[in-house]
Symmetry: C2
């Protein structure tokens, strides 16, 4: 099955301008052209773009992604480097998830803070609470925020 750039944009939820931009950046090595010069995308390109999306999410720049894509076109001699890259992505994403979880804890503490403030009509109520009055679950987050 072949798709035009418009169909492709729709299935991936991206603007056509982004697909052209990715093409120019060398992120679509398998994409072909029709006799009239129009881009023709295949299922292979869909998978390719999903990997691009995944790598982008993982924190890689488009230049780094192009390097990976180029490796896939160079065949089995790059297996080791590709494996190494994914192992590194794995540990970085794990670290990012951990960081996001700390961020979430801080946000939850602030939700409690403002819920308490709302009930009292003033932020000075939660702000002046001693550690013992703050629910267990929020103490760590508060400590991380305030000065040690």
């Amino acid at each position: 099955m072949l798709y035009t750039i418009g169909e492709m944009a729709k299935t991936l939820g991206l603007p056509t301008s982004t697909l052209r931009f990715y093409d120019k950046k060398g992120l679509l090595p398998f994409m072909e052209r029709s006799s009239g010069g129009m881009r023709m995308f295949s299922d292979k390109d869909i998978e390719c773009l999903r990997i691009v999306e995944c790598l982008k999410q993982s924190g890689l720049s488009l230049d780094d992604i192009r390097h990976f894509i180029r490796m896939t076109t160079e065949g089995d001699s790059t297996i080791d480097e590709r494996l190494a890259m994914f192992l590194k992505r794995k540990s970085e994403v794990e670290a990012q998830i951990e960081a996001m979880q700390k961020t979430l804890e801080t946000i939850k503490y602030k939700c409690w803070f403002y819920e308490t403030a709302k009930a009292a009509g003033t932020t000075s109520v939660p702000a002046s609470m001693g550690v013992e009055q703050i629910p267990q679950e929020f103490r760590k987050a508060k400590e991380r925020l305030t000065c040690k």
Copy 2:
């Protein structure tokens, strides 16, 4: 305790240029100046910058963060809006963590893929495997990548 911009930069692990930039953007409403015009940071500013960092991590732009910071200077009349903002941050960060977990699953599948390819000496071994030969844990990730 008061700190110069250099000390502050060190404790927060940010360049001084970033602190000046944040100041110019209105992200440091409590920061004072010495008689000679030098920025003097207090513990309050440290906490403020940690919140900035948290909100940035959560996906807010600096302009949105400034809006929040301005609310904190406006007192109790903005409690409701501040609570609403943190509740929204909470659900967005939860969504981001979920997305990152899917990304991680995809990456783990690719790690398995390239480990298998490495053992075989060629990517065509994992690439040509039927669903039954792919370990359970990776099947979903593979499905999400390949075309439905």
